[in-house]
C-alpha cells in the first residue's frame, strides 16, 4: 500500500513537471503582456525596460527554470494585471469556485444516481423514457447556451433569481461563503444547475447502464429467488456493485467540474478561479495562468490518487495482489 502511494506520488510529480513545461511553452504563443500593461502613450524604450524588468527578454528555458524555482518555494509571482501576489488572488477566488463546484457535484451525484437507479428499475415506464429523452438535452447543449437560457427564463423573464454574481457573502476570515445569506444561496442555483447538468446526465446514464447490467447477473436472480425484498435486492446487492465505475467517473468529473467552471463562471460573472483564468488569458497574465494550470493539474493528480485508493476500499478483489495498482 505504502509503496503504491509512493510510486503514485512520484508519477504525479513527473506529470506536474510536464504540465508546467507544456503550459509554459504555450505562453510564448498567447501574446505579449507588455501592451496591456502600458498605456497607449508608451514608447519603445518603456517597452524594452518593462520587458527586461519582467524577465521576458530572457530565453525560454531561463524563464521556465526561474518559474519552477519560485513555484517550489510557493511563490507564484505577481499578477501582471492586478499587481498583487498570485497566491493571494487564488486564495481569494478559490472559495467561490469550490462552493459552486461542491453544490454542482452534489446535485449531479444525488440526482444522477437517483434517476439512474430509477430509470434502470422502471426500464420501460413512461417517466423513465421521458427522463432519458430529456437527458439528451443535458448532454448535447453547450454549457454557455444552457446558462444563457436559464438567465433568460429565470432572471429576465421571471425575475426570480439573479443573473450574475455571488450575492452577499459572509467573510469568515480565510473563507468567504455564500451559503449563509439568502441572496448568496439564490445566486448559487442557476450556475450550479448549469455546471452540474452535464455531469448529472452523464452519471445518470452510467448508473443506469451499469445497473441494468448488474440486474441481469445470476446472483440477483438468486437473491430474488430467495425471496429477498425488491428494495434489498436493488439497493444492497445491485447498487453497491454498480458503484465502482461510477466512483471513477464521478471523481474525474469532479475535477472536470472545477476545471470547466471557466465557462459557467464567465456566463454568470461568478468570481471564482475560472473567471480569473479567463481574465488572465485576455491580459496575458502569465503568472496567474501558470499558477492556475499548476493548481488544476495538482487537483487532477490528487483526485486520481484518491480514486485509486477508493478502489481498494470498495473492491476486495484488488487487495489480493498486495498493492498491484491496476
Amino acid at each position: 500500500m505504502l509503496a503504491f502511494i509512493l510510486r503514485r506520488v512520484f508519477q504525479s510529480i513527473v506529470v506536474l513537471l510536464i504540465v508546467g513545461f507544456v503550459a509554459f511553452s504555450m505562453f510564448t504563443f498567447v501574446g505579449d503582456p507588455i501592451d496591456n500593461m502600458l498605456g497607449q502613450e508608451r514608447t519603445q524604450a518603456d517597452i524594452a525596460r518593462l520587458r527586461a524588468q519582467l524577465g521576458l527578454d530572457q530565453p525560454f528555458f531561463v524563464q521556465y527554470w526561474n518559474f519552477l524555482g519560485n513555484a517550489l518555494q510557493g511563490n507564484f509571482g505577481l499578477s501582471y494585471r492586478q499587481g498583487r501576489p498570485v497566491a493571494d488572488i487564488l486564495a481569494e477566488r478559490a472559495p467561490a469556485t469550490i462552493e459552486l463546484a461542491a453544490v454542482s457535484a452534489f446535485f449531479a451525484m444525488v440526482l444522477g444516481i437517483g434517476l439512474g437507479v430509477f430509470t434502470a428499475i422502471r426500464r420501460d415506464g413512461f417517466a423513465s423514457n421521458a427522463i432519458m429523452t430529456l437527458s439528451l438535452i443535458g448532454v448535447s447543449l453547450p454549457t454557455f447556451l444552457i446558462g444563457i437560457l436559464l438567465i433568460y427564463v429565470f432572471a429576465v423573464e421571471l425575475g426570480w433569481l439573479p443573473s450574475f454574481g455571488r450575492g452577499e457573502v459572509v467573510d469568515l476570515g480565510w473563507w468567504t461563503t455564500g451559503f449563509l445569506t439568502a441572496s448568496g444561496l439564490k445566486a448559487l442555483i442557476l450556475p450550479a444547475i448549469t455546471l452540474g447538468l452535464y455531469q448529472m446526465t452523464l452519471i445518470m446514464r452510467l448508473v443506469r447502464s451499469e445497473m441494468l447490467e448488474v440486474l441481469r447477473q445470476d446472483y440477483i436472480r438468486f437473491a430474488r429467488a430467495r425471496g429477498l425484498k425488491e428494495r434489498a435486492v436493488n439497493f444492497r446487492h445491485a447498487l453497491k456493485n454498480t458503484l465502482v465505475p461510477v466512483i471513477t467517473v464521478t471523481g474525474l468529473q469532479l475535477g472536470a467540474i472545477i476545471a470547466f467552471a471557466i465557462i459557467t463562471e464567465t456566463v454568470f460573472q461568478w468570481p471564482g478561479v475560472g473567471l480569473l483564468f479567463i481574465n488572465a488569458i485576455q491580459f496575458v497574465d502569465i503568472p496567474v495562468m501558470a499558477a492556475y494550470l499548476m493548481l488544476i493539474s495538482v487537483m487532477f493528480v490528487s483526485i486520481n490518487l484518491i480514486v485509486d485508493l477508493l478502489y481498494f476500499a470498495i473492491d476486495p478483489r484488488l487487495r489480493v495482489g498486495k498493492g498491484g495498482g491496476h
Partner: protein, 529 residues
Amino acid sequence: MNLTRHALLATTALGLLAGAAQAQTLRWAAAGDALTLDPHAQNEGPTHTMNHQIYEPLLLRNTAGDLEGALATDWQVSEEDPNVWIFTLRDGVTFHGGQEFDAEDVIFSIERAQSPNSGMKELLGSIVEVRAGEGNTVEFVTDGPNPILPANLTNLFIMDQGWAEENDATEVQDYAAGEQTYAAANTNGTGPFQLSSREADVRTVLEVFPDYWGMDEFPMAIERVEFTPIQNAATRVAALLSGEVDFVQDVPVQDLERVQGSDGLEVITAPQNRTIFFGMNVGADDIENDDVDGENPFSKVEVRQAMNMALNRDAIQRVVMRGQSDPTGIIIPPFVQGWTEELNAPPEGDMDAARQLLEEGGYPDGFSVQLDCPNDRYINDEAICQAVVGMMSQIGINVNLNAMPKAQFFPLIENGTTDFYLLGWGVPTFDSEYVFNFLVHTKDDSIGTWNATGYSNPELDSQIESLSSMTDLDARDQEIADIWATVQEETIYLPLHNQVLNWGIADGFETEVQPEDQPKVKYFETTGS
C-alpha cells in the same frame, strides 16, 4: 416612438414611486474593472473612469467633452514667460481623510506621475518643473511653450502628499518589483465619492463624500455607487433587463433594440472619441505576405487611393454596425482640434475609378495580401475585416484575413511586422498633434510609436515637431491643416468610421454620454426622488 415612451412612463410611474427611496444608489456594470486604484500606475480607460469618482484632476472633460475646472478654477499661460502655465487652485477643498488640499499636493502628484513606474509620465514629458506660485497658484514650467498642456492633465489625479508619505505610497505601484502598494487598494482623493469597499473584478462600492466642495455645484443625486464588472455581453444586458443593475456601459449593437424596447430602460448614444481605420505598410521595399515579388504595392499612392475608394463605408455602417457608427474620411473624430467637414467626407468614388487607379499604380490585375485584424478589441472588429475582404476583391485585391486576439495582434503593431491592419485610436488631448505624434511621425524610440506603416517624411516630421511650441494658435491651426492635407493626399491610412457609444440606463436616472466613455457620477440626475 414617442407614444411608446409615454405609455412606458405611465406604466412605470408607480414602480418609480415605490423605488424612489432606493433611487440614490446607482448599480453600474461595465465590461471591465479598474486595474488598480493607484491613480498614476495605469493609463487606461476603465481605471481612469473609476478614479474619476474618487480623485480629481486639476481640470477634466465634462459630459460634453469640454475642459472644465476641477481642482483648478483658472488656468492660463504666464504673461511674462510663455514657458509657464499658471493654475489657480480651488479654495476650501479637503481630502476624504480631512487633509487640506494645497499647492504641495499638486507638486507632489505631478512629480509622482513623472516617476519611471508611472503610466502617465509620457503625457508630462514637456514639464521640467512644478512650483508653487503667488497666492494659491501652481506654476508648470515646460521645456518650451506648450499650448495644449492643460489637455494632458485631464486624467492626472491629485493625491494628498501627507497621506502618501504616511502610508508608504509615494512611489507609483510597480508590477515587476514585487511590493504591494497601499495606494493600489486604498484611496484618499478630493472627489465626490469615497471608497467603501473593493474586491477587484467583483464589486466596488463608493459612498458620497459629504464634504465634497461641489455638493451644490453638481446634481450629486447619487449617494452610493455599486460597480460590478460583467464581462459577458449577454449577461450584462440580462442584468440590465432584469433590473439588477441601473446603468450599463457598452450595450452590444445587436441588443440595442431589445434594451430600447424594454419597459423602464433607455439607450443613450453619442459619438465616441475613437476612430477605426486601416493601416498599410507603405515604407517597406517588399512586404511579407503578398504574391508580388520584390516590390510593395502599398508603396504606390494610387494603390492606396484605390483601396480608399473601394471601402464601402455606408455598407459597413448599415450591415455590420447596424447603423451604430459614423463613417469618416479622416482618422480623428469631430471634437478633435483640426477636424473639418471637408476632411471628414470620405472620397467620392466608384469601383471603376478605383480599378482605374489600381491600373495607374501598376497593378491592373490586382494582387493578394494579408489583413491582420484584432477580434476582441473594437466593436465588431472581425466582422468589419470580413466585409472589407469582399470589398477589396471587387477591385482585384485578394485579401487573406488573419484575425486574432488583441494580445497577439498588438505586438504586430509594436514591431511593425504587419502589412495591412485594422486599428482604432482615441485622442485624449482632443488635439491633432497627439495623433501626428503617435500615428504619422516617423517611428523611433520615443515618437511615432504606433505608426506601423513605415511611412517616413522628414518634412512632415519637422512640421509635426514644430506644433508643440507654437503659441500663436491661429498659425498652429494652419500648420495642423497643412499636415492633414499631406496625410490625406498621401493616403497613409484608410479611415473607416468613428465608433458610437451606447449606454443603457434605467428610468429614474439621467445623464449624457461622455465621449471618452468615462461616466462621472456627479453629473447623474435622478427623477422621481
